[in-house]
Symmetry: C2
Subunit: 448 residues, 2 copies
């Protein structure tokens, strides 16, 4: 009889694990069952705001692979199946599905439950017209609610908040973005860069309300009509984007140990402390290469890689997850925002002695007709000049430069060495010294 | 009395050297005289095609710094001064200028003469209407010649050739690009990638004639009217872009030793074999970090860095030039082309045992409305999987990804390690696995 692998959660991490395991072990050797509580597997949650904006016309475009494609690989992906309990001693899971409940034994289990939206504790949050954006079903619901709405409010200025605000604006809604902190992306950027990003975004005409406290969501006949802060902001459609928390309830109940971040603790092969139980994706921790500490970021990039590592190991090969830098990117219309490594504040919090430099340059040669401003903040370790983190705000093509800095940080380069690297140049693409080279040098100058 | 530094050639390398030396030593300590044979110093030759296309409206926009700016720094930049001889024993240079000739003694000399266009040995090449594009004056001459012309021919399919062909097309000239090799960029890309680039560029409507032999340039009354290959291609304005050769005549005559590439040999501090004589930029060699051999590339990026290194050393500090990868980028309309490290052919020629993989992906998430094709070829060392080179052809935003690969190659990463790096992702910017990660993994898979 084959071993049985049960995967709890059928999105990026879970399906990557299933696919990699299957590539290495056939169905006679390993049975693979995936339980997914929603109607979809393997979809791009990151694409959902763009369904709202209309950039993506069909939800199905966001599905990387269908259940049928997995079935064809002998991966038994079961939709609308919710795992309600894991018994690590008996090696069983309890499952609720449309026709009842069932119990399944496993030899190996991949815990890939993802993350759940954080909802604010204010009156009216459960009213009709107030949504969070997590699953494809959420996207469909919000899209319908946007039809006919005149005003939109987004609560939260992070990735999802900005992207939904963009969608609202593109679709013609008069939009307010409300953030409790000091500007958009204030948990991803240092305050100075968050201020810059906020200023750039405001210039596009978006109303951004910062440092605000939400009193309640105003309702009429059970339907949301706006948000009360010190001021009232009208909105028939309100999306809450306050970030997500790892889905660890099942793990906690089952006694699968969590780490200091509150996510499931894993080793570099994605094993939990429980033999036969693996974890990957938003619900699992990851080693942060710069802080040297466990971290828990909710990014598709990390989920795919961790799932892949778990699956390769389950398949009998050897793989390790090398850790993260927390590299991320987003945009609001033409304003691109990206980050990698540690911010200055995060580095200080991690006990590092750091210096930082912020440069203002352009995305192309200064004389090129589409030259747009590009602000780049680089954080370096005092003494060594080692690069620790970078943040970018700028016009089109600014953001993806973060990958060059991420690669330098990954390799523990110091800013002076980095600044002499042989990067590409032509006037439509950059100045002769690419902004990343200049910013790294200035940070190292400040640090040494 | 102060030491005297004479700089021969006032573009990127020479002026960077002068500026860095001046920052560290004031005029009482170091006198700096720059002799530049043209009417301009410190200009962007790379921007010249964009003056032809109209993207840059004034030639003066291409001047990074004026002579007046250098004078204000106590750098005595003299235009229309051509150095005709260097006497390394007497430590003097002979100079021709509009009012006659003169001799100047020096203590230190920076040889930064740049490179000169290669001209084909065919009848008609000296006719009116046939140009090469090197100095700003050349750009002005060609721009005038384009006015009223109906047909343009570009001889050469490298960076300058493509960029001038783009300018011709943008300005409405019926244009033919003629290349002796197998496709555009055939000295920068492997044949398969050059073919891809050629195909993409042809799709925009440019006539590209490959593997052709030019018989002569046809003239009427001393004016060019077209180019005779097997076929006749009409052109009242013809630009020759067959690349450049290092300007070493003065050095050779003076007994400053050249290296195996034919450019001036330098050590990592930019010193030539002659005490007190430094060299930097297109006329000087550079250590290639992948081949381990001396190389001679003609790129503004390298010239600026080498000039900077020479200047820092002249200024009394210590700097070394860490070598090159030959990273470069260009575009033809929406087709971006970039490369770094060694091509497969170059790697084989350098005696390396290599494997390569080419991936086809998209510049953004596949479902994003502006998703464009992106081809990425990665070359890796057999056994180790170490990354040796990469080539990109693709739509907007494809090209600058070369910098991420360059940074990986610079750090001697193997393709598997590279593929697990934490790079940024959002649907408008890439797939969840950025194409560079996938291509690096496939190359490493092929190599190990």
């Amino acid at each position: 009889m084959p071993e049985r692998l049960i995967v709890v959660g059928g999105d990026a991490a879970g399906m990557s694990a299933a696919s990699q395991a299957r590539r290495r072990r056939n169905a006679d050797d390993l049975e693979i069952i995936v339980f997914e509580q929603s109607d979809w597997v393997s979809y791009s949650a990151c694409g959902e705001p763009y369904y709202l904006s209309g950039a993506v016309s069909e939800l199905s475009q966001l599905v990387a692979r269908t259940p049928e494609q997995f079935w064809a690989q002998n991966i038994d992906a079961r939709l609308r199946h919710r795992v309600t309990a894991i018994d690590k001693s008996a090696k069983t899971v309890e499952v609720e599905h449309p026709d009842g409940t069932a119990s399944f034994g496993y030899d190996q289990l991949v815990y890939a439950t993802g993350a759940a939206p954080i909802t604010p504790d204010v009156a009216g949050v459960d009213a009709e017209g107030v949504y969070s954006l997590n699953t494809l079903d959420d996207a469909e619901t919000i899209k319908k609610a946007m039809t006919g709405a005149r005003h939109g409010v987004v609560i939260g200025g992070g990735y999802i908040g900005l992207e939904v605000a963009e969608a609202f604006r593109v679709q013609g809604l008069e939009t307010t973005l409300i953030t409790a902190g000091g500007g958009v992306m204030n948990r991803s950027l240092d305050r100075d860069m968050a201020d810059l990003a906020t200023e750039q975004i405001r210039r596009t005409g978006l109303r951004v309300v910062t440092d605000s406290r939400i009193r309640d969501i105003a309702t009429e006949d059970g339907r949301a009509v706006g948000v009360d802060c010190d001021e009232f902001f009208p909105g028939e459609v309100i999306v809450v984007g306050l970030g997500t928390k790892p889905e660890v309830a099942l793990a906690e109940a089952a006694g699968i140990p969590l780490g200091p971040t509150g996510a499931v603790a894993v080793d570099e092969r994605q094993r939990t402390a429980i033999p036969g139980v693996w974890a990957a994706g938003d619900c699992a921790e990851a080693f942060h290469r710069v802080s040297g500490r466990p971290a828990n970021v909710h990014l598709g990039t990390v989920a795919n890689k961790q799932g892949r590592v778990a699956g390769i190991n389950l398949g009998g090969d050897h793989a390790t997850f090398p850790g993260i830098l927390g590299t991320a990117i987003t945009k609001y219309l033409d304003v691109e925002i990206a980050r990698t490594g540690l911010t200055e504040a995060e580095a200080q919090e991690a006990g590092l002695d750091v210096a930082a430099a912020t440069t203002t340059s352009t995305t192309t040669a200064g004389y090129w007709p589409t030259a747009a401003k590009l602000w780049l903040k680089v954080v370096a370790e005092r003494g060594s000049g080692r690069l620790l983190g970078a943040q970018i705000v700028g016009g089109p093509t600014a953001g993806k430069r973060i990958d060059v800095l991420a690669t330098g940080i990954w390799n523990e380069m110091d800013g002076h060495s980095f600044s002499m690297m042989d990067l590409s140049y032509a006037p439509p693409f950059s100045g002769v010294w690419d902004p990343v080279l200049i910013a790294a040098r200035k940070a190292a100058d400040a640090a040494t």
